[in-house]
Structures are given as C-alpha cells and as structure tokens.
C-alpha cells in the first residue's frame, strides 16, 4: 500500500527567504511523485513530478523538488518566496504495481509567505 506524509500543517516564511515544504512517502514498488497547489477558491494545479532520472525536478512558478530515495522524501523548495506563493500544497504518490492508477495524497501544508 502507498502512503504520503506531510508532517507540517502550516509553514510560515518571510518574503524573499527560501521555503521548503516537506513530504515523505511509502510505496512497495517504484514511486512516481507529484506536487499540486491549491490557491484560494481554485482547483488543484499541477506543479511538478518526479518520474526517474535527475533527482532535482524543476516545475512551475520557480518551484523545484528533490527526490531522495534513501530518505523516501520529496521536499518542495523555492529559493525566494513570494507573497503570491501563499496557498495549500499537496504531495501525492503513485506506485508502479498493480492495476490501480489512483494518486495517494498527503493531508496538505498551508504555506503563508509574510510580506
């Protein structure tokens, strides 16, 4: 069975500072990892994904994520936070075993960037 943990319900960071939103996962097979963002009154928007290859994945809006197999982590990062980055972030995993194609999500992390 696959699972995702986002250990922080809330992350606060000052504008211009680097930000990290943490995610760890558990799968039986090979993981495919995704980050989604939900802005207020909007749907989930795809940010980036890890398939195979380079452990540092770059995505939309200047975000990137680092895949660490030994630590089973896929933390989301951005070098310099903007107030407009304030939103709810979800990490998700899908493993390549069985026939199911469902995504398993974490509980979400509310990011607040303070001006």
């Amino acid at each position: 069975a696959q699972s995702v943990a986002q250990p922080e319900d809330q992350v606060n960071v000052a504008e211009g500072n680097p930000l990290t939103v943490k995610c760890t996962y558990s799968v039986s097979g090979n993981p495919y990892l995704f980050w989604y963002v939900q802005y207020p009154n909007r749907g989930l928007q795809f940010l980036l994904k890890y398939i195979t290859g380079d452990n540092l994945v770059k995505g939309s809006y200047g975000f990137e994520a680092e895949f660490n197999k030994s630590q089973t982590s896929f933390h989301l990062k951005k070098p310099s936070a903007l107030v407009s980055d304030s939103a709810l972030y979800f990490c998700a995993v899908r493993e390549d075993s069985g026939s199911a194609r469902q995504l398993t999500f974490g509980s979400g992390t509310q990011l607040t960037v303070l001006p």
Binding site: N41, F46, R94
Partner: protein, 115 residues
C-alpha cells in the same frame, strides 16, 4: 482549452436529502477520477472511469454513493441519502493517458455541506 469543470461550486443540503455533483473533464480525456477531502484531511480517491467504464471503484465509501459516466463524457456523482460525514470537498480530475507518470488535471471542486 477549457479545464476540468465542476458544478455546483457549493452545495448545502439537509441530512437525508439527495445531491448530484457534475464533472466535465477536459475534452478528449478518457480517464476521469473522483476524489474528496473531508474535514481538512488528505484527499482520498473515490473512483476511476476509463471512458464510460468503472476501472476502479475501490475508494467509494458505501452504496449511498453512485457515480456514472454515460457516453464517456461528463460524469455525475450522486449521494443518496446524504449523511453529515459526507461533508467535504469533492474533486474531479481527468487525464488523457492512463500511465504511472501521468499527471491528472483537477477541477475547482464542489464543497458539499450536509446539515
């Protein structure tokens, strides 16, 4: 190109009543998924359609929930009768390819409140 569209955006109903949620996927997307987020927790998978067929309905909580996708286009999710614990945000997503590494595109969600 229009994204995934969900109707209504909000619904407040009394316990015991019936509610029908609708999802219009991105045109040409054979794969359609329903998810829900209850009580601010993780987003959980409900079911997966491939065209008009139910590929995986392992996440449906009970037989009060009925999903259909007639003609392989839009989908409806009916809750009958609704219970208090059904309150939450129901998300629909679609994808063209049913692959391990394929991201799904989500709608804005329907916020259901059962009182």
């Amino acid at each position: 190109e229009a994204g995934v569209t969900q109707f209504p955006s909000h619904s407040v109903i009394e316990k015991g009543q019936t509610v029908t949620l609708r999802c219009d996927p991105i045109s040409g997307h054979d794969n359609l998924y329903w998810y829900r987020r209850v009580m601010g927790k993780e987003i959980k998978f409900l079911l997966h359609f491939v065209k008009e067929s139910k590929q995986d309905e392992s996440g449906m909580p009970n037989n009060r929930f009925l999903a259909e996708r007639t003609g392989g286009t839009y989908s409806t999710l009916k809750v009958q009768p609704a219970e208090l614990e059904d309150s939450g945000v129901y998300f629909c997503a679609s994808s063209q390819i049913d692959g391990w590494n394929t991201e799904a595109f989500f709608g804005q969600g329907t916020r259901l409140t059962v009182v």
